[in-house]
C-alpha cells in the first residue's frame, strides 16, 4: 500500500498534536495558569521563553502545549458525538425509509440551513461558557454531513445481495445494520469525521475568541488568540503561536482526511489487494 506524501504529513502533524496533548504536563516548562510572574511580562521569544511570554509573564509555549488538550478534546469528542448522531439517524433513515426517513431528511435540511456556528453560539448562550457546553454545542450542530453520507450509503447498500441474504437468514434489522451495513460505510464516515474534527477545532477557536468558549485563565488556542488581540502589534508572538498551532493541526487533519479518502476509496481498495 502506497501512502501519499500529503497523507504522511497530515498523519505526522495530527500525531504530533495528540502527543503534545497527551504529554502536556511533562512538555510544558511552567504551569500554564499559575506560572505568572510579572517580572517576565511580554518577553519576546528566546532560548528561555521559546514562544515568548504574555502580559502576566506566563510562558506562551506552556500555554500552547496545554491548549492542545482542550482543542483536541473538543475536536475529537464533539466530532465523535456528531458521528454517532449522524450515523445513527442516517443509517436508520436509509434502511427503514418511510416516515422516519422524511423526518430525518427534514431535520438534516434544517441543520444545513442554519449556520452551525450561529446555532452553536445560541446553545452556548443558553448553557454558559465552559468545556462541557462547548462539547454539547459543537457535538449537536455538525452531524448533518455524516448523516447524509450514512443515509446515502445505507440506501445503496441495502439492496445488495448480502443484505437480502442476511434477512433471509433471519437477521433482525439492528443486526443487519450493525454487521452488514455499518462496516461497509465506515470509509467515507471516517473521512468526513477527520475533516469535521478540523472544523470543530476552528469552531472552538471562534467561540473561545468570542468569549463563549473556555474561560480566560485556562488556555485554549482560541481564548489565547482572543486575549492577544489587543497586543497584536506590540507582542505579535502572543497570537502567532496559538494561531500556528490551530493552523498546523487543522491542516494535518485535512491532509489526513483527504489521504484516507484515497485509501478507503473502493477502486483503490481493489488495487491494494
Amino acid at each position: 500500500m502506497k501512502l501519499g506524501t500529503s497523507t504522511i504529513i497530515g498523519g505526522v502533524l495530527f500525531a504530533l498534536a495528540i502527543f503534545v496533548g497527551l504529554f502536556a504536563p511533562w512538555l510544558a516548562h511552567t504551569d500554564p495558569v499559575m506560572g505568572a510572574n510579572l517580572m517576565n511580562a511580554e518577553e519576546p521569544p528566546s532560548w528561555i521563553w521559546w514562544f515568548g511570554t504574555d502580559a502576566q509573564g506566563r510562558d506562551i509555549y506552556s500555554r500552547v502545549v496545554h491548549g492542545a488538550r482542550i482543542s483536541l478534546t473538543v475536536g475529537i469528542v464533539s466530532q465523535l458525538v456528531n458521528s454517532v448522531i449522524g450515523v445513527t439517524l442516517g443509517l436508520t433513515a436509509g434502511y427503514w425509509g418511510g416516515w422516519w426517513d422524511d423526518v430525518v431528511n427534514a431535520l438534516t435540511n434544517l441543520m444545513l440551513a442554519i449556520p452551525s456556528l450561529i446555532f452553536a453560539l445560541a446553545i452556548m448562550a443558553v448553557l454558559g461558557p465552559g468545556l462541557t457546553s462547548l462539547l454539547i454545542a459543537l457535538g449537536l450542530t455538525n452531524w448533518s454531513f455524516s448523516c447524509r453520507i450514512a443515509r446515502a450509503s445505507a440506501l445503496s447498500l441495502k439492496s445488495q445481495g448480502y443484505v437480502q441474504a442476511a434477512k433471509v437468514l433471519g437477521y433482525g434489522d439492528l443486526r443487519i445494520m450493525i454487521t452488514q451495513l455499518l462496516p461497509n460505510m465506515l470509509g467515507p464516515i471516517i473521512v468526513i469525521s477527520t475533516l469535521g474534527m478540523g472544523g470543530a477545532i476552528l469552531a472552538e477557536a471562534a467561540l473561545s475568541f468570542l468569549g463563549l468558549g473556555i474561560r480566560p485563565p485556562y488556555p485554549s488556542w482560541g481564548s489565547m488568540l482572543s486575549e492577544a488581540r489587543d497586543q497584536i502589534t506590540t507582542a505579535p508572538w502572543l497570537s502567532v503561536f496559538p494561531g500556528l498551532a490551530i493552523f498546523l493541526t487543522v491542516l494535518g487533519l485535512n491532509l489526513l482526511g483527504d489521504g484516507l479518502r484515497d485509501i478507503l476509496d473502493p477502486q483503490s481498495r481493489s488495487r491494494r489487494t
Binding site: Q160, G161, Y162, Q164, A165, K167, V168, L169, G170, Y171, R175, T179, Q180, P183, N184, S270, T273
Partner: protein
C-alpha cells in the same frame, strides 16, 4: 439431513395458492392518479419433496417477486403460501427465524451477494450462532463439512470474498444458503453471472447437493438450457401469471402455449444454423396489460377470441400438463421452426 420418508401422504413441501403482489404506483398526497402494478397476479405453484421446479419467463414477468414472497421479503396482496405444512402468509405467519430454517436462496450475482468485510468463516458462523448453535467445536465442524460439500477447502475459511473467483464465490453463496439445513433452496439465476466454463460445475454441484442433502429447488431462470438440464417440472410465467406448467419433458417436447413455443425455439442450437426465432416486440407493461389474453399482441396464433376474452384459467390435463390458452388444443406441440415474420434475422 431431512430424509424423504419424513413426508407421508403429503409429498408437497411448498404450495403457493393464488399469490398476488400488487404495487400502487404514483399518486400524490391526495391519492389521485394512483395505479396498480400487478407484478404477480394469481400464481399457483406446487413443489414436491426432492423436486426441482423450473420457473422461467422474461425479465419483469414476476418470477423474482414470487421468490421474494416465498422468502418472506415481500408481503403478498392476496393468496396463501404453505411451507412444509405451515402457513407462511395470511394471519398466522411463521416468524423469520423459523422461515430461515426452511427456505433459503442462492443469488444471481456472486459479487454483490457476499459481504466484502466478512471472511467466509464469519459469513457461515453468524447464522449458526443466531440460530442457537453455540459450541465452538460444533460450529467449526459444521463449517468444515459445509465447505467440503461445496468443494472448498477448510483452510480457505479465513479468506475474504475478494480473494475468490466468481465460481468460488458462488460456492460460498451456496454454502451460506445451506448452512442452516434448509429444505427448500430458491436458486435465482444461480449461473447467469458466471463464465460459461464455470456454469456446468455449479449446476452439477447444485444437483449433487440436492441428492446428498435431500433438497427441493425452485430454479428461477430465463436460460431454458439450464432449466432443461436441472428441472423435474417447469412453470412458465408471463406478465405475472403462469401460462403453462408440467413435466419438463412434456414442456420441452410438446409445448402447448405459443409463448413457451417461442421461448423453446429461441434456445441456440449449434447444429441448426438457422436464425433464432424471437418473440415480436417487448412484453407489455403490467401497469397497462392488453385486453384479452395478455400474450395476444405478440402471439402468432392470436384470433378474435384471444383479443376479446381474458385468457382461460389453467386447464390441467390428467398428466399434470397445464396450459392457459384459448387455442392450446389446436397448436399444441408446434415449435416455431419455419422462418416467418417472427424472425428478427439476428443469430
Amino acid at each position: 439431513m431431512h430424509d424423504a420418508a419424513h413426508g407421508s401422504a403429503d409429498d408437497v413441501i411448498l404450495r403457493v395458492e393464488d399469490l398476488a403482489v400488487h404495487y400502487p404506483i404514483g399518486g400524490g398526497l391526495r391519492g389521485g392518479g394512483r395505479r396498480l402494478l400487478r407484478a404477480v397476479d394469481g400464481v399457483d405453484l406446487e413443489l414436491k419433496r426432492g423436486e426441482c421446479l423450473g420457473l422461467v419467463g422474461e425479465s419483469g414477468c414476476g418470477k423474482s417477486t414470487v421468490a421474494l414472497s416465498i422468502l418472506g421479503l415481500q408481503t403478498p396482496t392476496r393468496g396463501r403460501i404453505v411451507l412444509d405444512g405451515q402457513v407462511v402468509t395470511g394471519g398466522q405467519s411463521l416468524d423469520r427465524m423459523a422461515l430461515a430454517r426452511i427456505v433459503q436462496i442462492v443469488f444471481q450475482d456472486p459479487y454483490a451477494s457476499l459481504n466484502p468485510r466478512q471472511s467466509v468463516r464469519r459469513t457461515l458462523e453468524a447464522p449458526l450462532r443466531l440460530h442457537g448453535m453455540t459450541a465452538k467445536s460444533e460450529i467449526d465442524g459444521r463449517i468444515e463439512a459445509m465447505l467440503s460439500h461445496v468443494g472448498l477447502r477448510p483452510e480457505q475459511a479465513g479468506r475474504y470474498p475478494h480473494e475468490f473467483s466468481g465460481g468460488q464465490r458462488q460456492r460460498i453463496g451456496i454454502a451460506r444458503a445451506l448452512i442452516l439445513n434448509p429444505r427448500i433452496v430458491i436458486c435465482d439465476e444461480p449461473v447467469s453471472a458466471l463464465d460459461v466454463s464455470i456454469r456446468a460445475q455449479i449446476i452439477n454441484l447444485l444437483l449433487e447437493l440436492k441428492e446428498t442433502l435431500g433438497l427441493s429447488y425452485i430454479m428461477i431462470s430465463h436460460d431454458l438450457g439450464v432449466v432443461e438440464h436441472m428441472s423435474d417440472r417447469v412453470a412458465v410465467m408471463y406478465l405475472g401469471r403462469i401460462v403453462e406448467s408440467g413435466d419438463w419433458r412434456e414442456i420441452f417436447e410438446r409445448p402447448a402455449h405459443p409463448y413457451t413455443q417461442t421461448l423453446i425455439s429461441a434456445i441456440p442450437d449449434p447444429l441448426r444454423r438457422a436464425p433464432l426465432a424471437t418473440t415480436r416486440g417487448e412484453p407489455p407493461s403490467p401497469l397497462n396489460p392488453p385486453d384479452g389474453c395478455a400474450f395476444n399482441p405478440r402471439c402468432r396464433h392470436a384470433e378474435a377470441v384471444c383479443r376479446r376474452a381474458p385468457a382461460p384459467s389453467l386447464d390441467v390435463r390428467p398428466d399434470g400438463h397445464a396450459v392457459r390458452c384459448w387455442r392450446a388444443d389446436e397448436i399444441a406441440g408446434q415449435t416455431v421452426a419455419e422462418p416467418s415474420a417472427a424472425f428478427n434475422g439476428s443469430s
